[in-house]
Symmetry: D3
Subunit: 330 residues, 6 copies
């Protein structure tokens, strides 16, 4: 059984039930989620051995967050409980022509202040095949940027494959550094990028005219780069999207089917489900199959409430391989 390590913040997600707007009624649905842990949870559900690196506040909130990760099958043994608050995000699910809305309240979280000095990297990477990070973590704080770099060095020196979801977000990067001061050295230590043209522009602070140019530049600049993966989403409305993906090698590329997704239940975490599918796929399949598997995982997530893809391996395989969908399975 493959062992995967993921790193990143896990937040408390609070969202009004169903299609309500913020605070329309008197309760909020509770989830715990974070991009990288979501990636890990999908793979844990498929039977892989996934350990997540983060830090939680030492309170009932942090304990509950860790419990939720364990419920999702994630190994939490490396997660310390430290002083501080948990990052929060308020999510209002969009519908029809109305967009989804996120209000972040994540500043000053326990994780943002976490330096990871006491992490036992030998234990963490013992037997590990893959390490996954995202561009959110180095954007949070100086400590988090350093922790990301350290983790990548520790992974690389043990021969662990590294994937990074570049995921540039303009409302982060508030701690005094710009992306291009941090990201290039992280990208050098990464073998698989999940990224679009804009991510390359922002992370490298370069002018690129299109994705093809970005691809060429990236394979030139980062010798250890093996794959770039890009998803293409058309948002007809909050309830209806079309989605496909391409896996690029330096010379070849593999395109997935395109999914027409209507009656969307929860759009959050669909990229993470895709990334989980991608890693699972690259560990177990040929590139063409891997990108189909990843895209099917991402598609199914649109029908699952919450941050996390709760879905059996067989369900992903069935959708990827074109099995009839939408039946009642008895």
């Amino acid at each position: 059984m493959k062992k995967i390590i993921t790193l990143g913040e896990v937040m408390l997600r609070l969202s009004p039930p169903g299609n309500q707007r913020f605070f329309q009624s008197h309760s909020l649905d509770v989830e715990f989620g974070g991009s990288e842990a979501n990636v890990g949870a999908a793979m844990a559900y498929w039977g892989l051995n996934v350990a997540h690196l983060t830090a939680f506040p030492d309170s009932e909130i942090g304990w509950a967050a860790a419990g939720q990760l364990r419920k999702n099958g994630i190994d939490t043994q490396f997660i310390p409980f430290i002083p501080g608050r948990i990052g929060i995000y308020f999510l209002e699910n969009g519908a029809m022509q109305r967009s989804s809305q996120v209000i972040y309240d994540r500043a000053g979280s326990a994780f943002a202040n976490f330096d990871g000095k006491d992490l036992n990297w030998d234990a963490i990477f013992d037997g590990a095949s893959w390490f996954h990070w995202s561009g959110i973590t180095p954007a949070l704080s100086k400590e988090c940027a350093e922790l990301t770099l350290t983790s990548l060095r520790e992974a690389t020196k043990r021969g662990v494959t590294v994937s990074g979801d570049l995921n540039y977000r303009s409302n982060l990067w508030k701690f005094g550094k710009e992306p291009h001061e941090i990201m290039p050295q992280l990208m050098e230590l990464t073998n698989v990028f999940i990224a679009g043209t804009r991510d390359f522009k922002q992370c490298l602070n370069v002018e690129i005219k299109n994705f093809e140019a970005a691809r060429e530049m990236a394979f030139n600049r980062f010798p250890d780069l093996q794959y770039i993966v890009k998803t293409d989403r058309i948002s007809q409305s909050s309830s209806h999207n079309t989605l496909s993906a391409v896996l690029y090698e330096e010379k070849n590329s593999h395109s997935s089917k395109s999914y027409d997704m209507t009656h969307i239940v929860d759009r959050v975490g669909t990229g993470d489900a895709f990334a989980g599918g991608l890693i699972y796929g690259l560990l177990h399949m040929e590139p063409k199959e891997a990108i189909e598997f990843a895209m099917a995982a991402g598609a199914i997530k649109h029908s699952v409430p919450g941050d996390v893809l709760l879905c059996s391996l067989q369900e992903v395989i069935d959708l990827a391989s074109g099995e009839a969908v939408g039946k009642i399975k008895r």
Copy 2:
């Protein structure tokens, strides 16, 4: 007012709320449902006199199940409360490309052990016009197979019209008999089949190349057969189906409109609503009107949560006759 008798198991249905996956949160929605009782409930709501034959455990669970049937307008006076458990089915509603899922936990139920020896057939069929059974019942146990045969004989000898939803299910038939050892004698006593090509193949253990062949064979082999009814469903996704139906006489056939059904709420019980509509239609209308009425009933059920079509006669008539839909009726 017509009197209808239905026979079959009623189970406890447990399903996660809304679009959640199994056990995503801490409650399950409760319904009581079973194919034949669902058929009866639709007609009871339209004002017919419907009595259901089944057996319930003598516990708060069985009492509640009977109460729910009565609430739906069904006469429960012939239902005994006996030792045993209630059959359970766990239902996860599908959405988008994700299929609905049923986990059965129905083995060893009170009904499966019910021999019906004490049933008073004279009282049951006094004034009755129609009897409805399905292929689920004889598949449950030796006792149930015999009870089905007895009920058909008792109905037939009193001149009651009989409909049967052949409904072959491969995950039943575990009690030592194969369908073709049981079903043919039941079919002989039945005047209306709801069935597709696969049902004929499995129930009769014959090779048939298509529905036309099945139809010809059936009308030849079963002299009392009056109609075969077949629905045709295309599942674009769990949220979107297209559905139509045809009523076959030996020489003629009547086709319903086709319904394009998107934003599906609950797919379960739609065939039962159709069957209820069919019986109601055949009792009150010409065949062409009957199949339109049945199809409209089946279509509306896709918008109603639960196993049972809760819908007024007028609503079905309006949809069948092409009245404008989707308005606010004040």
Copy 3:
């Protein structure tokens, strides 16, 4: 900041949760709503100073209704608490081919018996720019018809612009007068009609062959009339509508974009949201922009549960101006 006065009944709305049919389960969702107050609430949310005129029962129900208006930003200082009951409407949300259903229980409400004799019109219209009424109010009772007329005279003599949503409803007008005995004098005092061909026919008791004829007749007959606004809705199903609108001046007209609205959440109050958008638009924009703003407001309401459009000014502007929709806004 513009000040707007609205007049009309606010009812208790009781509806089964989600897609359930009436009384399928054991709770009802609670809202307070009424056409004209809904119009006001939309504008209050956008920052306008809106005061609503109505009367509530002097009980916990009336106090809660007033509290809900205040929560929505409406000034309730002119609302008296008087003996009587609150009007109630039971709403079942339609889905797919199944229509929404309203059961009214509004007879004999406190508002229907309210004569408004103690209203301080000077205080009410102090600084006001606009007054909005609808054809529901004069249809309720003799007292309400007179109150509407009084309010229109008080508004007009102070130079306040008046809009009226003619909104003919055949199940009202039970108090002994026919619409054409009341409506014409109210229409004379109104500058903006929201109305379709049927409204003109019923309110004026005339034969009109089409909307163009109605328009010509109206601009001729009512010299103070400035605009007629008409929406055009196609109901493919309860879950899918297409909607557009036109603003008619005597000689010109301005058409909005057409919105294809699928996955509808709550159809009730969409006309009120449109009317709120229209008044806001006419107060702040050119006619062409105003009708686009109004139509965008109406479209977004289809995605919001409840009677009231809860939606920021920016969201309406974004949709009206063709900003990308259906994204996650972080």
Copy 4:
């Protein structure tokens, strides 16, 4: 199996969940209840054959009310569906020092306008042993007062035993008659009174100095009177009451145990549960046992949410006979 007939209005009950005050949150719990139907439902749950006489609006609301009665085991075959509204009562459950609150909105209901002219009294009382009415019904309207009198005459002439819960309520009796103009002739036709001193004063418009005097007067004035039953309740708080009862014959009396009831769940309908227990008891037991059975039924109701005692015969017997309470029964 004994057959019981009950007569009275059934209302829609709307109450905020748990301990909330009116309209604190956005849903209301739904029940259907009315004093006399509650009495019948308790007995139906114990296996008696109970038919209720009332009238419902011919709408989804009335259909649901009838369905709920059937679910509770009540025979609804004599209930007509007629034009009109359903009576509503809003109930806020008290707690601690805070009283429960009821807001009635029952004026002009279908039942209040029901004259019962088409009732088939022969069918209704065929095989019946007991008829139960309460002082609420004649207080509603002239029609209801006359219907009560008619039903008592029809019962009496067929030798059916009659019980009446005098239940004087000062907020009723608004239709132009005073209680003493109506009640005496109803009391003459009644064999069992459930009543306290105040009920006698108000119904007979007499000065009585205490219950003993009332008892003497009643047995003198009403020759067919067999029992008077009185409950004594001490309300320490909404959450804590002490309750006992006495069954008076002309010369003897039988007192029940006193129940100290703390942690009260729902106080509504406890008198009805008691009355149901009383009728069941008098039909099956000696007077002393009957009053203990009745009091135990009333006590258990305090722990059951809703208007109706949902409780098996065995549970009442166990409590009445001093079986250990508060265990986990496995």
Copy 5:
């Protein structure tokens, strides 16, 4: 109608439903509350004109908080919407021997950074009779301490009576000042203290041997002091408390009844309800009546979910004057 001004932070309160522990299930109940606004809300419900001073984040969360204050009858016209987050507190309701638990996440809130420089004190105090503050506000930040002092000076110079709930909390006062550096000058400008012995010790940094000594010291040191009010609570368990209060003048004192409160619903905000009752009482009654009114208000709050006392004037008067409690009021 008296006008009251209150000042203080309003937080988002998140609590698990019913008796659940933190994060036992997947939703949190939502309230907005803060000590001083709670005080104001009680009085607004009784018909007083209450305006609250605070600052909210300019987001859907802040808008909702203001809407909730308005719903509770509070005038929000002086509340600015500024950048920042809302303070949050997570509340787990205790039960039996298990204590309630609060987890604060309030650091860095919009209010803590609010300097109130733009407040229009003339408008705020125009017509005002009373100003209420608590010791929580100066403990939050330097800005808040200064804002409190400013508001007291503005109130005092206009002859407005001032009450202060000293309310020392050891987990606040983190901004670099100790209470005795700030509180004395605020106390000098205050006419009514709600305080116990420990509050005096901590606020004045003095050794006091008992409450009598504190009382003597306070009336000596603060010449404008008129009353000290102290509540005495015995916590038998989270579900059962005994509570009484005394109003001290310099020479006299008035004691309230003692309330034995069992089956407690929500302990939070009971001191605020008491304070609201106290201010209302001192504005409208003699001191002895005032302390009884205050204590009754505090007692009823224990039965009301949420931060705020939702309770009519009549209910408080009834309880204070010994009216029977725990009945069903129809």
Copy 6:
């Protein structure tokens, strides 16, 4: 950190919300629980290393059950997923004089058919300090009785301390053996009994006149027995119990405080919480402290919904050591 092994069935628990009776409304609350896993979960929450031995069905239901154990901090690595159903129990929470009710539907579960042949006892007991079983397991089936014996032998031969909750239940033991044919050999291998007089009688099939006689007999017959622990519960009602416990050594005994527990939230699992507290106590404290710790854990469980004690170590210590209870901890 101590390692504890527990063995036993985990069932799906379905219960109506709040104080409702079975099937009063349309949802059931979901928990997963079983006596021995509940014991383990309490200790896992206090930081011990707890692994549970059981078997789950290989379906979404079994996966969810395992996830819930992991969420509670239990190591699930030794749990196989095998064919079969999950045992179910329906629980209705009692209130006041109404008892709680359990309906078991556990026959034929995956665990009942589990022989444990593939368990790796070396891995399981590696580093373990304690093993806990209960009398429920050997009562389920021949396989379960043998598995219990095997596990006790494997524990004992590795020097692991063993506790057994004898817990005789008359509605089990249906597989053909009587308790005294199985239990004595299990008791021989056990060091700590949780048991009362009746348990000894039934498990050993002996006549014993009182607990003292049972104690003497037990210490004589079972040489490895170290402690017998007995709880004494008085059930005033479902909402009010009094509870204490005694720890017996052969010659000495230690009694806990007695807890008066009123306003009980959930009585289920209180004995398991006690047992968890006992094991924790005996591993970390003197006997007198241990029995106080155990009793405090058991008492707190009465306030926590669900099967499992969710409670921090500090909360138990505070209650055991007489810290003030019922406060708001901030």
